[in-house]
Symmetry: C2
Subunit: 403 residues, 2 copies
């Protein structure tokens, strides 16, 4: 017997039929002898509908009232699901956040869960009951309704799993797991059976948006076993553990890519302390997020070239700042907004020699030009021409035996 936290996303509870189906999943877990706490999102589309209503009223709708408004979505799903469970003979109860309570801190629309009372629910679970908790929301110390940001139901699930000391947290969604790359766009994508938190975070921050990153971080910090699985099939999903628990048979776990980047190179920058800071400080002050930064070793020991990538939407603003800021000196600037970032991610990379070389040789065989390179412990990213994206992802799947 284990204590499980099951989280059901918006599409999983998107219709009454699906809520009835989710009730059956929960009953099956209960019948297997597990204690179950279920976290639910709002029915798919509901949060956007409420958001749009608020926007129709005001472009600057009160954040306090928006929290009250949005919280209603998960309340509806919780009561419907709990009612569905009761109808099939399960002793179920929905617990609104103020009834538990789930305490949060921070500002409206962007709070963090700091604690919750577990005694009443634990008593209910040990009596054979199922607790249904609306995700995404909480109550502040002042008794105000708060929400914890889009995708926040994942964060609720992991926080509940942590505070209730659950044995496992299962994220039910509309895909059957984490894929080696985006399965909707890249046909060679393959489902991953096991992945580490770190790899998951790299893939997630690079565009594989199956789970909210901060929820994965929390799970990593408290070593809560996760599983991402489909609500609509019985197949096993993707299990997410710490690196030590995974026996890596492959050096690379997945290939992430993003296509909304732009690259800027400043040529002939003075190679002395403080120069990089002079460049990136004004960008940061203008809310421009710099992703990769590569500084080449200067050949003449006096000047260097600095290449960095930013969101494509920020390109014009960035060029303007670089041109007009007197503290930034360089000989020449080149930029390219038709680039893509391709990253191989794998916790096994560090212990497998030659991964970098194999990636570069593979891309060369496809005549794909590498415009910039950046590496970290479990990730290797390259910037390439955007139109080579698909070719590169396919080649990397072949090289690293992902397909």
């Amino acid at each position: 017997m284990a204590k499980k936290v099951l989280k059901f996303g918006g599409t999983s509870v998107g219709t009454i039929d699906r809520i009835l189906h989710v009730a059956k999943i929960i009953k099956k877990e209960l019948d297997s002898g597990h204690e179950v706490i279920a976290i639910v999102s709002a029915m798919s589309g509901k949060t956007n509908e409420l958001l749009n209503q608020s926007k129709t009223i005001s472009k600057d709708f009160s954040k306090r009232e928006l929290d009250v408004l949005l919280a209603s979505g998960e309340q509806v799903t919780s009561s419907l699901l709990s009612g569905a469970l009761i109808d099939i003979g399960v002793n179920s109860k929905s617990w609104l956040n103020w009834q538990i309570p789930i305490l949060t801190e921070g500002e409206n629309l962007n709070s963090r869960i700091i604690n919750m009372n577990i005694s009443k629910i634990n008593k209910f679970l040990s009596d054979g009951g199922v607790a249904i908790i609306p995700g995404f929301q909480g109550v502040s110390k002042n008794g105000e309704v708060t929400t914890i940001g889009r995708g926040g139901s994942d964060a609720t699930a992991v926080a509940v799993a942590k505070i209730f000391e659950a044995d496992k947290c299962e994220i039910y969604t509309d895909v059957d797991g984490i894929y080696s790359t985006d399965p909707n766009k890249i046909p060679v994508a393959k489902k991953i059976d096991k992945i580490s938190y770190e790899e998951m975070l790299e893939l997630s921050s690079l565009g594989a948006k199956v789970m909210q990153s901060s929820a994965v971080q929390t799970a990593m910090m408290y070593n809560i076993p996760l599983e991402v699985k489909s609500t609509f099939t019985d197949r096993q999903g993707t299990k997410i553990f710490d690196q030590e628990s995974i026996d890596y048979t492959k050096s690379v776990t997945g290939v992430a890519y993003s296509k909304d980047d732009a690259k800027i190179t400043l040529i002939g920058v003075q190679d002395k302390p403080g120069v990089a800071a002079n460049i990136f400080e004004p960008l940061s002050k203008n809310q421009i997020n710099v992703d990769m930064v590569i500084q080449n070793i200067s050949s003449d020991q006096k000047t260097t070239d600095i290449t960095f990538t930013i969101k494509r939407d920020d390109l014009l603003k960035t060029i303007e700042i670089l041109r007009n800021n007197k503290n930034i000196q360089y000989e020449n600037m080149s930029h390219n907004d038709k680039v893509a970032k391709i990253s191989i991610v794998g916790a096994g990379m560090v212990s497998t020699p030659g991964v970098t070389y194999r990636m570069f040789r593979g891309l060369a065989e496809e005549k794909i030009n590498i415009l910039a390179i950046s590496t970290s412990e479990i990730k290797l990213s390259v910037i390439i021409d955007e139109h080579d994206t698909l070719k590169a992802i396919k080649k990397l799947h072949t090289i690293f035996e992902l397909d």
Copy 2:
């Protein structure tokens, strides 16, 4: 300066445009120097939508969870309206029932408001704030979500007016007041400027469903001045006071009717104590609601005729019970399911001689046969053939100068 409770029904807040309009009404009251608490219903159709979802899940959906589900409707309206007020510069705040709290007792779906905490909201009002409270719901002593029955937002409004000692409670709705009879079906219907609680109750229980009866009763008990008015026009509505405050210029205030009645007459019932009880006890035990009861004086001192009316839907069941119950003895039974009940209501009736006679003569002039008569202090009801309904109502409007 007065303290006002304004209640806005489902159609008044049925769309975002209407919510924006309601915000303007509230701001105008505030700008006139009043303190304002607004009670809101769910957007029109919302409660039915949620109810239907619950019915799709289970014909016997958990009442506890249904309360949680339904309460979300008014929560949405409260936050949208409060956001709309903030957008036009009003210091507004929605107060969910557990945040006040509004304490209720009784069972789920049918609770009663017993108390509420007024200090926080009174402080907010005296600082120039507007408090928005979702109607129809509360919190039990055990911290459970409760609702107080359909139309319960009226009850919330009156309870809030009572406990906050408001000077006035205004019920904003989609009609511009109380009419002498149903204006949607009877063209001669005319708006009433002033009416007593008692008359309002008689009209309400007889089918003029502008306000929930128990809310009117509470207002009467605590002498809270009410006004029913339209959200969509600036015209004065109908003011509801105690009888003493009204200077009656007319003996009759309105004409109510209902068309879903049936009449049963038991002929030759033994005229002795306990007979009526024998008849009505088994009906009551079978949830059959008996409305009018008329017992004629028996001519032979030994038997009498008893006529009573019931809901038309209960006719067959009632006949069966009367036929099969050995304790009920009578010579003959007649029944008629094509009858209507027409009632004239007026607090001025008691002090105006001849009202009864004028009614009977008027109906006779139209060749309308009276099948049964029942009178009370402020009401005189007759049962007539259903197809004479419109003719009777028109005639009564003419006789009593209502049109």
